[in-house]
């Protein structure tokens, strides 16, 4: 497989494509009224110094895997930085990209100007990225379930006889719990991975594992509510015949 990759010369082609894309952008952006500013040596040195703190934290968290990944990224950045030096762009955005992004350096090398934009936004604090915190909405899933706020269709079950509706309710709860268990597991793994590799948000650079953890936490609360409902539903199923109906999600509303 490695031989096939070498034969395809894909990496070289990707670099050529990236260089061509940047050249097009450098022509097109001034036409659109924008000014392209290449950072000076002093600015680059300052950016590298500021970024170094993030590198160190990331390397501490990721250990040997992170160190190896960083070495590979810098190895990949080498030819680009060298080419930029030859062009007199003083290391260019590529080196800054590697410094700023840490784990995502290899990817961001292809987008030096985007990286510069992110760096300046982070430095000025004029822009923020609240959308990654909107996962807090999962915190309301349990309470919404408790008050019966999750939309469902009871057109069919309301016309069924009680034992059949009760059977459907038990099956629904069991299937729902299995589904939630799967989603809780995979989203917890995602949050754990984000923590281990020190993933941060795009602009404010806060740890992403925090908002990511809200998803499994909210779903876990909902699953606990559903377990309670399932217990009461099973108790009703084994109880007196006249009370064998579907129980509400919350015990307080019975």
């Amino acid at each position: 497989m490695l031989d096939a990759i070498k034969e395809s010369n894909l990496e070289e082609k990707e670099w050529q494509d990236a260089a061509a894309a940047e050249e097009r952008a450098r022509k097109r952006l001034p036409e659109l009224g924008m000014t392209i500013v290449d950072p000076s040596k002093d600015e680059m040195a300052k950016a590298r110094q500021i970024a170094k703190a993030a590198w160190d934290i990331w390397l501490q968290r990721t250990g040997p895997d992170g160190k190896r990944g960083l070495e590979l990224a810098l190895e990949g950045a080498g030819p680009v930085a060298a080419a930029r030096d030859r062009e007199g762009v003083e290391g260019g955005g590529a080196a800054l990209g590697a410094g700023h992004a840490g784990p995502g350096a290899a990817h961001l090398l292809r987008r030096p100007h985007a990286v510069l934009l992110q760096s300046s936004a982070a430095a000025s604090w004029t822009s923020w990225d609240p959308s990654s915190c909107s996962s807090v909405i999962f915190g309301a899933a349990a309470q919404t379930y408790r008050v019966g706020g999750h939309v469902r269709v009871d057109l069919v079950t309301s016309t069924c006889r009680a034992p059949r509706a009760r059977g459907c309710a038990v099956l629904n709860l069991a299937l729902g719990l299995v589904f939630l268990a799967v989603v809780i597991w995979v989203t917890s793994q995602s949050a754990l991975t984000a923590y281990r590799y020190g993933r941060v948000s795009a602009v404010l650079l806060y740890p992403l594992w925090l908002p990511m953890l809200l998803i499994p936490a909210g779903l876990l609360l909902m699953a606990l509510c559903m377990v309670g409902t399932l217990r009461r539903q099973l108790r009703a199923a084994l109880g007196p015949w006249d009370r064998r109906d579907e129980v509400p999600p919350s015990a307080g509303t019975e």
Partner: protein
């Protein structure tokens, strides 16, 4: 089974779950996960489930959701 056949089967299953009174969100989630697992396998399918949950939860639109209804 062809992808079209699988799609039809899963849509039928989704309506069956609706008729059984399952919450819409859970019914659609279950059907979606089953489709992903069948088409992409366990590793990729479960990975996609995690990333879909994250990418859809972090919608800028949700930032406007009020924190209290009182």
């Amino acid at each position: 089974m062809s992808e079209a056949g699988l799609g039809a089967l899963l849509i039928a299953l989704m309506f069956l779950l609706f008729a059984m009174g399952m919450e819409i969100a859970l019914a659609m989630g279950i059907v979606g996960v089953l489709g992903l697992l069948y088409l992409k396998g366990w590793t990729v399918g479960l990975g996609v489930v995690g990333s879909i949950a994250w990418s859809n939860a972090t919608s800028f639109t949700f930032v406007a959701v009020p924190s209290s209804s009182s």
